[in-house]
Amino acid sequence: MPVSQPSAEPHAPSPPNGRQGAKVEIRELYKAFDSKGGRFVALDRVDLSIAAGEFLCIVGPSGCGKSTLIRILAGLETPDAGTAAIDSTGWPVENAMVFQEASLFPWMSVFDNVAFGLRNRGVRAGDCAQRVGEALQLVGLSKFHKHYPHQLSGGMKQRAAIARAFVTNPALLLMDEPFAALDAQNRAILQEELVRLWETSRKTVVYVTHSLEEALMLGDRTIIMTAQPGRIKEEIHIPFPRPRKEMEQS
């Protein structure tokens, strides 16, 4: 049963144009890899429904198949059995991914990196420049459009990666431990900005992390997975009202 948005959310704006993000139905999804140590079952008949506009976090130890799951949704892996149906009716682009480490192309400027997905989909140069400009403004990188990735800090690189994903206007935003390499302060800032961007766009977000704390901070719902074989062990609905503030560290 897809989970509806918690109704006691005074801050949630109504989605623009009545749109909601992608709906995802995952049924009996199975994926195994052959390695030297034998067969490694990354996903063992996983069932999961993700509601339109939901912010879903997936938590688990390394090797639990959470990255495999998100890579299947991104179209970068194919399942061995089972299905994942993504309904992105009415959206220009189905999904876009923000990767774990710096995945910006080192040989392209920040502008060209962000424009990459738009140009591939035939967006005209004028529209392209305008949309990239807006996306860079949203993540606070307007002044850095001519810079190359190596000239940016880790946090700025991930901002640019978020802009690159948002600019194509995907129904489903896939994030694979995007802030894992950042220091705590930068991570907190970017988490907050991500939630702000999500709230105004109401895309569906699937966010993979190994930190339960991060999942509780960001998500509407958190799936906890176990490793070998990769299965869903537990599901937590997160009742905390938004905006959330991280608890003071003692």
């Binding site: 890579r71 970068l76 995945s103 080192p106 990459f116 591939n120 190359y148």
Partner: protein
Amino acid sequence: MNTSAGSTVRVISAPTRKSKRSSTATDALRRRVLTVAAPIGLLLLWEIAIDLGMADRRLVPPPSGIAMTFLDMIMSGELLKHIGTTLFRVGCGYGIAIVPAVTLGLMMAMWKPVRYALDPLIAALFPIPKIALMPLLLLAFGFGEMSKIAVVAIAAFFPILINTYSGAAGIEKIYIDAARNFGATPGIMFRRIVLLGAMPMIFTGLRLALGISLLVVVAAEFVAAEDGVGQLIWISWELLQVDRMFVGVVTMGLLGVLSTLLLQEIEQHVIPWKQR
């Protein structure tokens, strides 16, 4: 309180400003003096040794004599004609090699069938010293320009191909994944991801190929040409015109340095993202 053990205190402080500044200044000065003085000193020693009669002038000319011959040959236009011929052969051969070498290298990295088909051919052909093909090329193309251009092209082809391939194959998977996720078609993948990602290694190949091209063109001109800098060196040896021989050697050195500098200049424009 703890009197029996005494105390061990080490104070760490910055070196005094004066000593620090003067030492770095001395270093810079020393470097500048030595880099200029060493080659000039060597030439002077050479000159003096000849003046003192320590070597036969006819076999080892003094630097001043070589310089004079060099100027004479430039003024008469003779040297420039040789340089022009040699550069034409290197330029044509090298230029012919670049596009197929880069294209095949990228295709080998992107498509396994191409790799499987070309790997054994490259493994068999790469180790052959390319100048060994000169007689074969003379048979095929005759004594004209084509044989020299062909040997340079073949020699330049392999280092460019191999470096392009290893650069393209070494592109991190995350960039390929990101490009696919953001809708790259095979054409986009080829031009904007694999080609650009391999560019630093392509330039490594171009640098190697340039050195090899100059080497091969001189060797080819020794045996199979009527002009060119290589032929100038060879004829001068046969006629025991040692001054002119040295002029040819120095000229090739200068061509090597200048063409490498030109390539570096081009690289800085083509690869603006490279961290220097």
